[in-house]
Symmetry: C2
Subunit: 216 residues, 2 copies
């Protein structure tokens, strides 16, 4: 009994999320804002990668905005505003993913006419965020070699919806005995369309290639 | 409208899960099986830590069983059976956590009269598994220093329900510029009761202390 109700409601929730995501997309495009949803595992380096992109885009005269999504706290939000960009903090409380409705509210508080590029950092999780599009133009999935060489094949869905896949912390591959090529091969098998980037955000490696892959 | 239905159903699901978890606990205790639920982030080292515990307990004449929980695949399951223990593989498909009902089914397939200690490895996720007790005697939360020094305060709930907290991969703390003491302090603030262990499972460090903390 519970199961049936759950499934039906689940479909309702996903459909409602999709409608709001579509509205977010129209809203952002109406304001000529290019938007990117960064999904990926906990501590994979999403925030640092976005910080690199912020600095580089600022250098090119682009005005950046950010939405930081986390279960609790404002660590990532504070890191973004330190770069002088406008940002909103979204705490999900008990949810393991952002949804389009939360982003809709965050957009109300952002000066979209003064933003060229919006980065949304999703909650660290390789499962549920894949099911909840937010309305961003592109979805970037970030993982780290420190999580092991089985991370892609253990979480297939999220890689199939990615527009770009980032394998970060490759400088630590030796220390954790992980061959990044295994992750690359698994990702290619799931998604032949998305560019796959090997990065070491801590030392700025691969950031220019990622920027290019995102269309800048 | 959706929201209201969702909240009510959520409470139903959590209550139903709790009932089944209680039944699992009784069932396991009836068979004199000591059980441990390992929760924690993706790639934090849960599997390797359990592998160390299996080998050590085998040396002490204990009979071990395992349940491997993952969204997809049987990587962890295969690692467990390689140690000669009985194991069950649970694929959640789209769910980001195990629930008591799934574990109930796995228990049907395990020879509980021939098991002294059961290790359950939950899906890698620092949010939802905290809400779904499985009926294990103790819940161990594992994180890795490679995820950054803000991991505990970003995911407070799961640390409050832990009976032991493991901070793994401390050998990489320098390489990722993370002070493990920050994680320890944040964890202590959330949970004064649970022992906190600093480990380097790859090199076997801290495993004896963890075993002791689990009561062996």
């Amino acid at each position: 009994m519970h199961k049936v109700v759950e499934v039906e409601l689940g479909a309702d929730i996903l459909a409602a999320n999709m409608r709001i995501a579509d509205a977010n997309r129209e809203h952002l495009r109406g304001h000529k804002v290019l938007s990117f949803d960064f999904l990926g595992s906990i501590g994979s380096g999403k925030t640092l990668i976005i910080e690199h992109l912020i600095e580089s885009l600022k250098g090119k005269g682009k005005r950046v905005g950010c939405i930081a999504g986390d279960v609790a706290g404002d660590d990532d939000y504070r890191r973004f505003v330190r770069h002088g960009v406008v940002a909103e903090n979204l705490n999900t409380g008990k949810e393991c993913h952002l949804d389009a409705h939360m982003v809709d509210h965050a957009l109300e508080h952002l000066p979209l006419n003064e933003i060229d590029v919006l980065f949304i950092e999703n909650v660290g999780n390789l499962v549920c965020p894949g099911d909840f599009p937010l309305g961003a133009d592109k979805r970037i999935v970030v993982i780290s070699v420190t999580e092991g060489d089985d991370m892609v094949r253990k979480h297939p869905l999220i890689f199939t919806v990615a527009d770009a896949i980032v394998i970060n912390k490759v400088d630590l591959a030796g220390a954790v005995d992980v061959d990044p090529q295994i992750l690359v091969n698994d990702a290619k098998r799931l998604n032949a369309r998305a560019p796959i980037l090997l990065t070491d955000a801590k030392h700025g490696k691969g950031m220019a290639e990622l920027e290019k892959a995102l269309g800048f």
